[in-house]
């Protein structure tokens, strides 16, 4: 099944990809080429915020893969996202070099400060971009592999699985908060200067990362679509709908679950790695269980089990958050909370479900 063939059957997906490309091109052109005084200029603020949304969208896509298609409600996907982010952050931290506050070429500022004498072993290699990029994929992937292997093998399912994924990310949060861990404690990693030699504060670099986020979101969407449409994806969906039955038919359910879980974790890691240079900080609160819960809600708002739904949900909820925190700072939690309640009550299949129903109603 070729990619073209795949997309030909996914019309919404095609629209989505076209729009994504259009959006990316328009935003970056309007930022770089249109003079600042013009009414059509898109500020760098908008670019970074939009880039952040795209990263969240990729993360939501990852959650939707495991939850929407495989029925694994992971309340700990924030951990994979943050680990990817930390890997990239460590690279950028090493790039600061002598420009740190204490001017130490080898050690990041917080280590100088905590009297570390040499770089801990797990920081070695992070001065190379290729190594850091590899780690962005490997660390979340391996963690998901280990965790999934343990959990799926012993058939931990349902709420039990959800709660232990929550325990996982909670444990990571506590661990990274510790200053002794060598990841900067509560302050995390910040004060990044450049990436691959490009100054992070230049508009060009920002737009490039923004475009990269759009690219990865597009690629992530296509691969995810490919995965769910493949035979393996069908089995995964079967696991979601009737796990025991699938097992009795003879499929190794654990393997399929593990595979999709690891794939999803890697996607989340990539999202994190793209997120960190755009927001300029990575800190343990990204591991907080509430964050992971929130991403599940993005997916629910968009519509689980439809990849574009997850993307739509992530972008809309975050956009709403940006708007509300700006214009209604006192009451935005009411609005957000109310939205979640309303979505689950009145739109069980999310916005996509509503659109579908409207469409069907129209036909009838």
């Amino acid at each position: 099944m070729g990619i073209g063939n795949l997309l030909a059957r996914d019309r919404v997906g095609k629209t989505f990809l076209t729009l994504l490309a259009l959006f990316a091109v328009v935003v970056s052109t309007l930022n770089l080429l249109v003079p600042e005084a013009s009414a059509f200029h898109v500020s760098t603020f908008t670019v970074t915020v939009a880039g952040k949304y795209l990263c969240y969208a990729l993360l939501a896509l990852a959650v939707d893969l495991v939850w929407g298609y495989c029925g694994i409600l992971s309340l700990g996907h924030g951990a994979f996202f943050a680990l990817g982010g930390y890997a990239m952050g460590m690279y950028m931290m090493r790039q600061i070099g002598e420009r740190g506050v204490y001017g130490n070429a080898l050690l990041p500022d917080f280590m100088v400060f905590l009297n570390w004498k040499e770089l801990p072993w797990y920081w070695l290699g992070f001065d190379h971009f290729w190594f850091a990029s590899l780690m962005v994929l490997l660390v979340p992937g391996l963690l998901a592999c280990l965790f999934g292997w343990l959990a799926f093998r012993s058939r931990v399912t349902g709420v039990y699985l959800s709660i232990i994924t929550q325990a996982l990310t909670y444990a990571f949060m506590l661990a990274f908060f510790r200053n002794e861990m060598g990841f900067g404690g509560n302050n995390g990693l910040t004060d990044f200067k450049d990436i691959l030699g490009f100054n992070l504060q230049k508009d060009g670099t920002r737009v490039a990362i923004f475009l990269l986020s759009a690219l990865f979101l597009g690629l992530g969407y296509i691969t995810s679509r490919f995965v769910v449409e493949s035979k393996m994806g069908r089995v995964v969906t079967a696991v979601r709908d009737a796990e025991s039955r699938t097992r009795f038919i003879g499929y190794k359910v654990e393997h399929f679950k593990l595979w999709i879980f690891v794939f999803s974790a890697v996607l989340a890691g990539i999202a994190g790695a793209l997120y960190v240079p755009q927001v300029g900080i990575i800190n343990p609160s990204e591991f907080s269980p509430l964050n992971s819960l929130e991403l599940v809600i993005w997916v629910a708002v968009g519509g689980r089990g439809t990849l574009y739904g997850a993307v739509l949900g992530a972008i809309l909820v975050n956009y709403a958050k940006t708007i509300f925190t700006g214009i209604l700072p006192e009451v935005w939690l009411f609005a957000l909370g109310g939205l979640f309640v309303a979505v689950t009550l009145f739109m069980p299949d999310g916005l996509v479900g509503v659109a579908r129903r409207l469409r069907l109603g129209g036909v009838r």
Binding site: R11, V12, T15, F16, L19, F23, V27, A39, F40, H41, V42, S43, T44, F45, T46, T48, V49, A50, K52, R99, G100, V101, Y102, G103, F113, L114, L174, F177, R178, N179, G185, N186, G188, T190, D191, F192, K193, Q201, V279, G280, I281, N283, S285, Y308, L312, I315, L316, Y319, T325, G326, P329, E330, W332, L351, V352, A355, R356, L358, R359, V363
Partner: protein
């Protein structure tokens, strides 16, 4: 398959909506001077920061009553970074780029300041940071109106050592950068005064720690070993209530084992049953109970503004009060709200403290302030028991840490650097 078309439409509309609303942000004609307020109104830090937002609104309203600034009205732009650190950076960018504010008053935690810092330096904005902090920083774009460690921690320890005869020390803090730095400075300072390693106990706990039984038992054990002991607490916010409750219940009273806190002010006390706390200490640059004309006036205005005569005032509020008025003076002096001009005019600006004396903005972007030590009273107020003779000048780089001893901050020519190494004569960690 047909049904999918409407979803496509939905997506398309959503995207267009997003694009169009993003575009419609460009500036209106500037009739007001905008002041950004960047304090969390939700999330874990809302508890402390909401008050500061209200303080700023009060100060701006008052300034407008006086006729505004440079003939224009001031306009407050309030945003909510929701105690989320990346969001602080994003909101700061929004304030500077979208709203074009002349200055930002905000942040509470160190991490929020660190998160905002690169944005400020990139967009050349101004931040007034009103909270006591760990030092080891001086940015061209930030004015630190809270206390540096030498304006809070060191005088407090001096008081305990000289006036109360404390010989043994417990340094208890929440595990983040402010307590870590403060304790490091204090440890070095105590050792320089001849205190032995075995007479110092250091303990870190996570944020919001609520089960203090074992730690308080340890402190009790440590503190009853004969020599007079004191606890120097840099425990943050929410963890304080259970900590003091446990102290009270395990029978640790202030006369036996006093606790001096750097993060517990009037506002925090208003949420605590203060009876078991009476006699414990806090070190600040401001107490609501200080009896001066300026302070009485400030408290009166605050009560009128907030419409609640029971609300308290605290140290970061005073910091904003001083910071805002200094900014107003600097803008008047510079005749413009341009960042560089104002930043230059700020240095040397003087404004009376609410607690007496005149605060002066020094070359390192810190203030000179009096240091007060107060004992907690059962009505939730402090009674000043000790006070520095004159004003203490804020020192960005502690003299008690080997790596920062050689560093100074001076934002006047010829040095013009917040991180100047006096040995190598080099300016590091700066982008200009």
């Amino acid at each position: 398959m047909k049904s999918f078309r409407s979803i496509g439409n939905l997506l398309a509309t959503a995207t267009l909506w997003l694009l169009s609303s993003l575009l419609s942000t460009t500036a209106l004609a500037e009739e007001t001077i905008k002041v950004g307020i960047l304090h969390s109104l939700s999330g874990t830090m809302a508890i402390s920061e909401t008050t500061l937002k209200d303080t700023m609104l009060m100060l701006i309203e008052e300034q407008n009553k006086k006729g505004g600034l440079l003939g224009k009205k001031l306009e407050a732009v309030v945003v909510d970074p929701g105690s989320n650190w990346p969001l602080f950076a994003e909101k700061a960018r929004e304030l500077l780029q979208k709203n074009k504010v002349a200055a930002i008053f905000g942040c509470w935690t160190s991490v929020s300041r660190k998160s905002v810092l690169p944005v400020l330096e990139e967009l050349n904005g101004l931040l007034f940071y009103p909270v006591q902090y760990e030092g080891e920083e001086s940015s061209k774009n930030v004015f630190y109106t809270g206390a540096a460690p030498n304006q809070q921690a060191i005088p407090a320890v001096d008081y305990l050592m000289n006036d109360l005869g404390v010989k043994r020390w417990v340094l208890a803090g929440t595990d983040y950068v402010y307590p870590r730095t403060t304790n490091k400075i204090l440890e070095a300072y105590l050792k320089s005064k001849g205190v032995k390693d075995k007479d110092i106990m250091i303990n870190y706990t996570p944020f919001g720690h609520s089960d203090w039984q074992s730690i308080v038992a340890d402190i009790k054990k440590f503190g009853t070993a004969g020599k007079k002991t004191a606890v120097v607490s840099t425990i943050n916010g929410d963890a304080n209530v259970p900590f003091y409750k446990e102290l009270g219940n395990q029978g640790i009273t202030a006369d036996k084992l006093p606790v001096v806190a750097f993060s517990v002010g009037e506002e925090e006390l208003s949420g605590i049953d203060t009876k078991p706390l009476v006699g414990h200490l806090a070190a600040w640059n401001y107490f609501m109970s200080v009896d001066t004309k300026e302070n009485a006036e400030f408290i009166k205005k605050w009560h009128e503004f907030i419409k609640n005569p029971k609300r308290v005032t605290n140290d970061p509020m005073e910091a904003h009060y001083i910071g805002f008025n200094m900014w107003v003076k600097a803008v008047q002096k510079a005749g413009t709200t341009d960042t560089d001009a104002v930043a230059k005019a700020m240095i040397g600006i003087e404004f009376p403290n609410l607690t007496g004396g005149v605060a002066k903005m020094n070359k390192a972007h810190h203030l000179s302030k009096p240091v007060l030590i107060g004992e907690i009273q059962d009505d939730g107020q402090f009674q000043t028991v000790w006070q520095t003779k004159g004003l203490v000048d804020g020192d960005a780089w502690s003299d008690f840490l080997p790596e920062s001893k050689v560093i100074i901050a001076d934002w006047t020519p010829p040095i013009n650097c917040g991180n100047y190494n006096t040995k190598t004569k080099k300016c590091s960690g700066q982008k200009y």
